[in-house]
Amino acid sequence: MGSHLLGWLAVALYTGAEALAIVSLMRPRALFARAVPIAIAAGLALHFADLMRRAHELSSVPYRTLGGSVSFFGWMLGIAYLVLFFRHREQAMGPFLIPFIVLATGIGLVLPDAASLPREGLHGSVFALHVTLAILAYAAFTLSFVLSMLYLVQNRQIRRARTGLLFARLPALDVIGRLNRTSVTIGVATLVLSLGLGLFWAERVWPSLSDPKIAWAAITLLVYGFLLWMDRRGWAGPRVAVLSIFGFGVVLFSYTVVNLYLSRAHSFR
């Protein structure tokens, strides 16, 4: 594989953004707070160029390999951060979300791009949309995980009347709860679409629909669907946060163990 210079530059920008985000969490300075989304946006641009270069080299979508897919996942998280920042004016989340962007992008660069043989059917817009939506769903669930952790932290601070730095900087429980609901809703909607497209496409190229990844996507949907259902029935609060953290565990399992060891069709081989 060629050099990942652009990708590493993006990682450097994300890391810089994280440092600025931490500094402005400790001591709010308008200048620093404004520099964070700028650094993220610049990182996203370079990151995108790196993904394009990968796609060109693979003659396929960039997430044809495991590295590419993790990298693309990091890129989606970056977009999610910008949405939070510009749409919700939410800055306190930065220091907790950006590490996931750095981590995913970095891992995506380190993982070997196994130069696999082009497999039949791994192209076309249905396949591309299926994977894009699935990764978007995972990004939304990751965001929900971060929000849920912050919810539990803030909830604990309020209950113990601990009014320190995090208490002051983190948003109100109501706000975190609403953002969480939105991101889970987006995650569920995109995963449903992705699953539908995947099934539609697999029906045409696979001999049978017996892939474990399908089962795990269904389990993931079940967990988050239950979360949204209970959220409207009096669970909105710490229980929903705990459920979302559990759901993220399922997502991680489905993205790693299931992809690499259980599912043949999703193994990037």
Binding site: Q154, Q157, I158, R159, A161, T163, F167, A168, L170, P171, A172, L173, D174, V175, R233, G234, W235, A236, G237, P238, R239
Partner: protein, 423 residues
């Protein structure tokens, strides 16, 4: 030491930092806004000060003035004692005085909240602004005090935005509101139900309204007091017997009754939560003994905070504010230096002029003793020496960068050459 001649900044004040024994004197001196106007008129009417501004708060009465008269402190103290019918010695004993740069520094400390009883409190900045406004209306400010107060207000604003000294609330009511805000976010559309219309309940209700809560309800065992408080804060009264219906509709419930037993039991709170379909509820217990049963906190999505929690936070916040002192002081000193620099420039010029005039008078006195035909020659000679002698000290005086040192040096020159002696 104040002598006549040059206009000088001065401050005569009475503050809570004075001795406990003089508290009653301070309380008798305390001025209302109306009285401030009258006092300013009197001070200027009797020629005690050229400019005057009075900062009057619950904790302090401070007269800032620019005076070129003799013994301004004594005259101000006499004026105050006569006006208030107090013994002048008592008034003087209870007071403190500052002059020049120290008077300015005191005002800057006051405006930045560094001199406040509750460190960093914000109200005092408004009070300093108000003092300047009253003085402007009374026509008692000119260049110096106007500039000094505007700079002090600017310093106060900077300290509030650039440090955290004013950010941590100190009263239990505002801490309670802060906690509620971290549960619900924007409190404007939330309903606050205050149980008890006594002092505690009234104070909380007022603070809640001031903080932007639009829907405040008051319930009290005697409905008249609830109605009176509700009317005063623009809220609504809830009959005590309607509590079971009112509880589920309230996002924040504040316990502030004098009841010896809790007025909200766990069963009450559970019933309210059922009515709310699990939406969060915040119980704030400001009563002693408790109004909210302690086990209410165990209900899902119920947050409950009691007095001891809030007082713990208040203590913690006092420490947090103290940690901001060094940064606040450095901002304060920076702004003060800027003002003193300006003031210093103001003072060097008259001092140089006074010094020239003094030397000219000496020269003329000596010239009068020599033959008239020789005078012109000697005058030129004397002027040449005087101008050579003065050149370097004057250059150094003008070019001094440190504003407070410059003031000191100007004062030293005036003292050494006895420039403040009446002609």
């Amino acid at each position: 030491m104040m002598t006549s001649g040059e206009a000088r900044l001065l401050l005569l004040g009475w503050s809570f930092r004075g001795a406990e024994a003089s508290r009653s004197v301070r309380e008798r001196i305390a001025l209302s806004a109306e009285e401030v106007r009258e006092a300013l008129d009197r001070m200027r009417g009797e020629g005690v000060v050229r400019e005057g501004v009075i900062v009057a708060t619950c904790h302090r009465s401070e007269i800032y003035g620019v005076s070129d008269g003799e013994q301004p402190f004594e005259r101000l103290a006499t004026l105050v004692s006569q006006w208030r019918g107090l013994d002048v010695a008592e008034v003087t004993r209870a007071s403190f005085t500052r002059e020049g740069g120290e008077a300015a520094r005191h005002l800057f400390r006051v405006a930045t909240g560094l001199d406040s009883m509750a460190l960093g409190e914000s109200e005092v900045l408004g009070q300093v602004r108000q003092a300047l406004r009253l003085a402007k209306e009374a026509g008692s400010t000119r260049a110096v005090l106007h500039r000094m107060f505007e700079c002090a207000v600017a310093a106060g604003k900077r300290v509030r935005t650039e440090t955290e000294i004013a950010r941590h609330p100190l009263s239990v009511a505002s801490i309670g509101l802060e906690l509620a805000t971290k549960v619900f976010g924007d409190m404007a559309e939330r309903r606050v139900l205050v149980l008890g219309a006594g002092d505690t309940g009234a104070l909380f209700a007022e603070q809640a309204v001031a903080a932007g809560v639009r829907d405040v309800r008051v319930a009290n065992r005697s409905p008249e007091r609830a109605a009176a408080l509700a009317a005063r804060i623009g809220g609504a009264a809830v009959p005590w017997e309607h509590l079971p219906r009112a509880l589920p509709e309230a996002d924040v419930v504040v316990g502030a009754t004098a009841s010896p037993t809790p007025v909200v039991s766990r069963a009450d709170a559970e019933a309210a939560m059922r009515g709310r379909r699990g939406r969060p509820m915040f119980f704030l217990d400001l009563a002693m003994p408790r109004d909210i049963a302690p086990d209410v906190a165990g209900i899902y999505n119920v947050v409950s905070a009691g007095l001891e929690d809030l007082e713990g936070v208040a203590e913690e916040n006092r420490k947090r504010r103290s940690r901001e002192i060094p940064q606040a002081e450095s901002i304060m000193e920076e702004e003060l230096a800027r003002f003193l620099q300006w003031l210093g420039n103001l003072a060097v010029v008259p001092t140089v002029n006074d010094l020239r005039a003094r030397l000219a008078a000496l020269r003329d006195a000596e010239l009068s003793r020599i033959a008239p035909e020789d005078r012109e020659r000697y005058r030129a000679f004397a002027d040449a020496i005087a101008s050579k002698l003065l050149h370097e000290p004057m250059r150094r005086l003008k070019s001094e960068d440190d504003a407070s040192r410059k003031l000191d040096r100007v004062e030293a020159v005036r003292h050494l050459f006895d420039l403040d002696r009446p002609e």
